[in-house]
Amino acid sequence: MDNLFALAADNLLSPIILFFGLGFFAAFARSDLSVPEAVAKGMSLYLLFAIGFKGGASVADHGIDGRLISALVAGAVLSFLIPFLAFALLRVLSKLSTIDAAAVAAHYGSISIVTFVASSSVVDSAGLDPEGYMVAVAAVMEAPAILSALWLVARSDGGGRMEAGLIREILLNGSIVLLVGSFLIGFVTGAEGLAMIAPFIVTPFNGVLCLFLLDMGLVAGRGLRAARADLRPPLLAFGLIMPPIGAAVGLVAGLLVGLSPGGLALLMTLSASASYIAVPAAMRVALPDANPSIYLTLSLGVTFPFNLTLGIPAYLAVAQAISGG
């Protein structure tokens, strides 16, 4: 427990979190501070490129682990299942319509890559050496949750357009392609490739992450300010309760797979995190009647800050405790 508090305090005082806080504050104070869209998108490409490549190079370094396949399968299964838990919890807690509840559920089955990156940084600082292929697990978890949500809607009222093109579009969305592609290139080129581009993807990484989280803070804060009206207490409660539930399920899966403590913490984080890029876009296409303000606010305004500040250190502490670390 002491460990947990120390970790949480440490985490809260890291520049990464403080810059997120600065963005949040600026948004609420209605400052005109903003990061140009192109720059924010450029930084997110950078982060995907960097973590994908480093993950691949790490797998090349450690050799392919027998658990790689089971971890990927576990990721897919988690992404399929968590939406059902989320949907059930929402129906109990709130009065959301089927469509809105399913749309929210899809977000929680999928993942937030920035939360994953922040978690990796905390796990690294704790001296752990997680499985490099967790990056690939993250990629696998992006999409399945969308199918679960569409099934939930189709079951009840036949709505939800699952057009042919949509699945392809989701599987080939830019983030997944760049993450997986960089992972494979990192794997193929290994330590030599990493040495060649490390001054770009390793040393300045944390600094870029600070700037990126400044922007996330701005966007999350602005979203929350605009959508306060939609955020009734039951929804807020959901946004805070769901992540630990997801993390618990992820923990079980990770133990079954036999991940290292660092890998466990990352899988818990992935399960606890909620998407705010790929899934919202898919929902606008497939479930246009679902209210975007609800799912975006929950995912970006509530769950993302919760995981970033309290969730990640908690998941790490639990993972270490359970692994007897």
């Binding site: 924010a40 890029i277 919202p280 296409v285 303000s293």
Partner: protein, 103 residues
């Protein structure tokens, strides 16, 4: 200069639907259009601005089509099949074009 009647249709639509809209237009035989970026706006579903977006989920674009008046209905049918349940606005105005053979 000799000009000809045309219709100018302006469709403000979610960016995620852009490709679906332009595909539908092409299928309806509308092969001329121009897409403009949108910074922000306000409507029944509230106010938004490009700055407040992490991804492309909630952005919008404006699609402008100049067409011969007799093809307006085909265009509107195709557009509404896509826009229908989505956030967005369609408006039409009279216009004159110069090189009519192009439309």
């Amino acid at each position: 200069m000799q000009t000809h009647d045309a219709k100018r249709v302006e469709i403000i639509i979610e960016a995620v639907m852009e490709r679906r809209l332009t595909d539908a237009l092409s299928e309806a035989g509308v092969t001329g259009y121009t897409v403009l970026p949108v910074l922000g706006g306000s409507g029944r579903s509230g106010q938004w601005s490009r700055e407040g977006q992490v991804g492309r989920a909630a952005g919008m674009v404006s699609v402008i089509c100049l067409i011969r008046p007799d093809r307006l209905d085909a265009l509107l049918d195709a557009a509404f099949a896509v826009v229908d349940r989505h956030i967005g606005v369609v408006s039409i105005s009279e216009a004159q074009v110069v090189r009519a053979e192009r439309f």
